[in-house]
């Protein structure tokens, strides 16, 4: 089974701090994604990556950056955390090749910015 592991289930940080959320997948997937999930707004894509050192902006990239130095690891960075970034953050991975590949999600990081 594919396993996507997010480093923290719960995280509390202060406004202005630099915050790192880490995600590791064990299936050699090329594609990795970061979403945030808020009530009534669904899953919103922040950034995604098709390969090592490759990244593309999703729908809501403002205030975030990402890093993918190794294929299995995709990091989300909040440069200067703000209270409106309090949310559930979900990482996912997906293999390339055949169509209809599912996305495999981690269990999420619930981030609170005080």
């Amino acid at each position: 089974d594919v396993k996507v592991t997010q480093s923290s289930r719960y995280l509390v940080k202060r406004t202005g701090e630099k915050v790192f959320l880490e995600c590791v997948q064990d299936m050699d997937h090329e594609n990795m994604f970061w979403y945030r999930q808020d009530p009534g707004l669904g899953l919103r894509l922040i950034y995604f990556s098709y390969d090592v050192k490759m990244k593309e902006k999703g729908d809501i990239p403002e205030g975030y950056s990402v890093s993918r130095e190794k294929k299995e690891r995709f990091s989300l960075i909040l440069e200067s955390a703000s209270t409106n970034q309090t949310s559930m953050y979900l990482c996912a991975s997906r293999g390339l090749g055949r169509s209809n590949q599912p996305q495999h999600f981690g269990d999420g990081t619930r981030l609170s910015i005080l």
């Binding site: 994604f33 707004l41 669904g42 979900l90 090749g97 055949r98 169509s99 209809n100 599912p102 996305q103």
Partner: protein, 111 residues
């Protein structure tokens, strides 16, 4: 931009009832995926429908892909409290593309 509309947004029913929920779009997808997310966990894939008109069954859950591959439905027979969760549909635009997610349907099944 491809959009997926899910309805209803919220549904609360009694154990044993049947229900149908929908996932609609004006765009054609190569496939549609349904996920279920339970509180405190990430979404987990339930099924992928690929062919227009396709019907797939997963125990008491029946999934159908529309003939034009623009919409899908999920029917649950004799709902159980364990069916409670957020149901997400996701459209696949083709090989190696991103998935487009709907906002989800929150289902609560009361004992």
């Amino acid at each position: 931009t491809q959009l997926l509309e899910q309805s209803p947004q919220f549904l609360s029913i009694q154990e044993g009832e049947n229900l149908t929920v929908y996932c609609n779009s004006s765009s054609v997808f190569s496939s549609l995926q349904w996920y279920r997310q339970e509180p405190g966990e990430g979404p987990v894939l339930l099924v992928t429908v690929v062919t227009g008109g396709e019907v797939k069954k997963l125990k008491r859950l029946t999934f159908q892909f529309g003939d034009a591959r623009k919409d899908s439905s999920l029917h649950i027979t004799a709902a159980q409290p364990g069916d409670t969760g957020l149901y997400l549909c996701a459209g696949d635009g083709g090989a190696n593309s991103k998935l487009t997610f709907g906002k989800g349907i929150t289902l609560s099944v009361r004992p």
